[in-house]
């Protein structure tokens, strides 16, 4: 685990820290990732929350999330937190829906309602 620099220098404030060589790999975005990206753009466009709120939650999720979750996994988690705080849906509604989606099948394709 990285050394905690204390509350005056938060984990995400990375300018100037010691770090290794840059991995040049990139990946094509999966459809679910593009959908997460679209969720953010549409939500902010419609004024449901702000990109500042997205960032604030990402920061508050902490360094371990940065190390263990992918970029869009963290985004969907943050988008959810922001929508819950905005009262767009309740945790209970989300819980019920997630259970319903999960029951549809083993793969991402099967879990989508619109099976095209």
């Amino acid at each position: 685990m990285r050394k905690d620099r204390g509350p005056e220098h938060r984990w995400h404030d990375m300018g100037g820290l010691e770090a290794g060589s840059i991995n040049n790999d990139s990946h094509d975005f999966a459809i679910w990732e593009k959908r997460v990206d679209a969720l953010l753009t549409l939500s902010t466009k419609k004024g449901l929350f702000t990109v500042d709120g997205l960032r604030r939650v990402l920061e508050d999720m902490g360094e371990e999330a940065f190390e263990t979750m992918s970029y869009y996994e963290r985004w969907v988690s943050s988008i959810n937190q922001n929508l819950i705080e905005a009262g767009i849906y309740s945790l209970d509604e989300l819980g019920e829906k997630m259970a319903e989606v999960k029951a549809r099948g083993e793969t991402y394709g099967e879990a989508q309602e619109d099976k095209t």
């Binding site: 509350p7 005056e8 220098h9 938060r10 300018g15 100037g16 702000t50 960032r55 604030r56 920061e59």
Partner: protein, 95 residues
């Protein structure tokens, strides 16, 4: 506070624990105003779904040698960052 291009400024060295957009490495450092890029809502308030005050947003230019004690690359190299007015102190020349 209206800052002209070229004015010498110092970035305030405060460190509240929430969503701020002034990186640690420029806090307490001296730079010059490169330009004002407009008036924008304070992200420190937007992030918490609060009504936000508006502040002037400035690109501030720092010498790398000002930011880093051990900077060994080009001695004229610079770093520009966007800083909100409430983080900037004007350095006035002595009368």
């Amino acid at each position: 506070m209206i800052l002209d291009n070229g004015s010498r400024v110092k970035i305030k060295d405060k460190s509240p624990p929430g969503h701020i957009r002034t990186p640690k490495y420029i806090r307490g450092k001296v730079g010059i105003i490169e330009r004002c890029v407009g008036i924008f809502k304070n992200p420190e308030q937007l992030a918490y779904s609060l009504n936000a005050n508006e502040y002037g947003l400035y690109r501030v230019r720092f010498k790398m040698t000002e930011l880093w004690d051990d900077y060994t690359e080009g001695q004229n190299d610079t770093l520009d960052a966007e800083v909100f007015a409430h983080w900037i102190e004007e350095i006035k020349n002595a009368a």
